[in-house]
Symmetry: C3
Subunit: 151 residues, 3 copies
């Protein structure tokens, strides 16, 4: 059961879509770890920390939004939002969203998604936080936003 | 090495496809955990149990089929099947399938997939079990069937 | 933190795309394990070993490229490449690529991807290795190449 989490984002061009994704992970500070994708919960009593340097090669669970594009001039964005409940014994909810479009719009949507998810649970929100990034494609690019669990 | 497993399914409407997927996970009773997708084996001597309440935020390996749609009126279904071998020292096989169409048809296909997978291994089947769910889309919906490993 | 890794590949026909993927995993020798997909790092000091028989049902992190097709006559290929750094305290990088086309071409691309990824890090390459497989579709087929972490 992870005890800490942090938010990161990054964007990059690359030789292929996977290289661009790798570059976005590197810019986010998690490019030398083994990210394992998970659905999308912050455990109760899990503490937010500032991004830290993870041991290279460590297996790290993360919830993330990522998008690649090879359409020059296109703007892509990726964002995640976390809604934390008033009741500290309940978990927080992470939502991910990526799409063509500007950061501000994508971040607004993903925040609304987290609010809707808490409504569905019937839980009141104590805190809503988010991170998002946009990238204008030169040739082949990627945008990524992630919540990393740790500890 | 997990020692227990259980089968769940759920379906839901949602604000976005991811919200609908979140709702389907909630209806299946696993919406407040961190599901990690895996390929698709029941370890030898792993015991089937009734679905249990998992600790919120726990990292839980699962094999699942899931589908979302935003076509009003469309029927979507998701199913999983497990074939267990006669030889108890061998593992069971999980197959996942989701598609447009009614539950009965999708469940029949996924059961055949599990039978075919055991044929490929040259193993005799002692038990074949499955779970599936269908959902008629109102606006945006998701259907999910899962095998959760635990213990 | 895994301490060993090995490379495998496989290809297969199957009753459905997932059955073909299952067959490719079996041919690669990892069809009876629970593969968890990860992004794509060889930890420092991790030792390459020959492929070993894994315990059935074990949860095993792996980076892999896989592709399925149902177009008879089509040739599909999947490959992975690993670039290891001169500095043994830094991690290696895994790249994955799959596409229509012959093995030789896909393997060349994935090797270049690994070289580009090390360039992005500003790290010199000590060793570049790869594995790839091609498959000509009869009816429904899959090709898979993987790096499995273990130990």
């Amino acid at each position: 059961m992870p005890t800490q989490y942090f938010l990161v984002s990054g964007a990059s061009e690359g030789f292929t879509p996977l290289n661009a994704f790798d570059g976005a992970l590197l810019q986010a500070g998690i490019g030398n770890t083994n990210i394992v994708k998970m659905s999308s919960i912050v455990p109760p009593h899990c503490q937010r920390i500032s991004p830290i340097a993870l041991p290279p090669g460590a297996l790290v669970p993360a919830a993330y939004a990522a998008l690649t594009s090879d359409v020059p001039g296109e703007i892509i964005s990726a964002g995640i939002a976390i809604a934390l409940p008033e009741d500290e014994n309940q978990n927080g909810l992470i939502m991910e969203y990526s799409a063509k479009g500007e950061r501000r719009k994508i971040e607004e949507i993903v925040r609304t998604m987290a609010v809707e998810g808490m409504k569905l649970r019937g839980w009141k929100i104590k805190d809503l936080t988010s991170i998002a990034v946009e990238h204008r494609i030169k040739k082949i690019g990627a945008a990524l936003a992630a919540v990393v669990l740790w500890g």
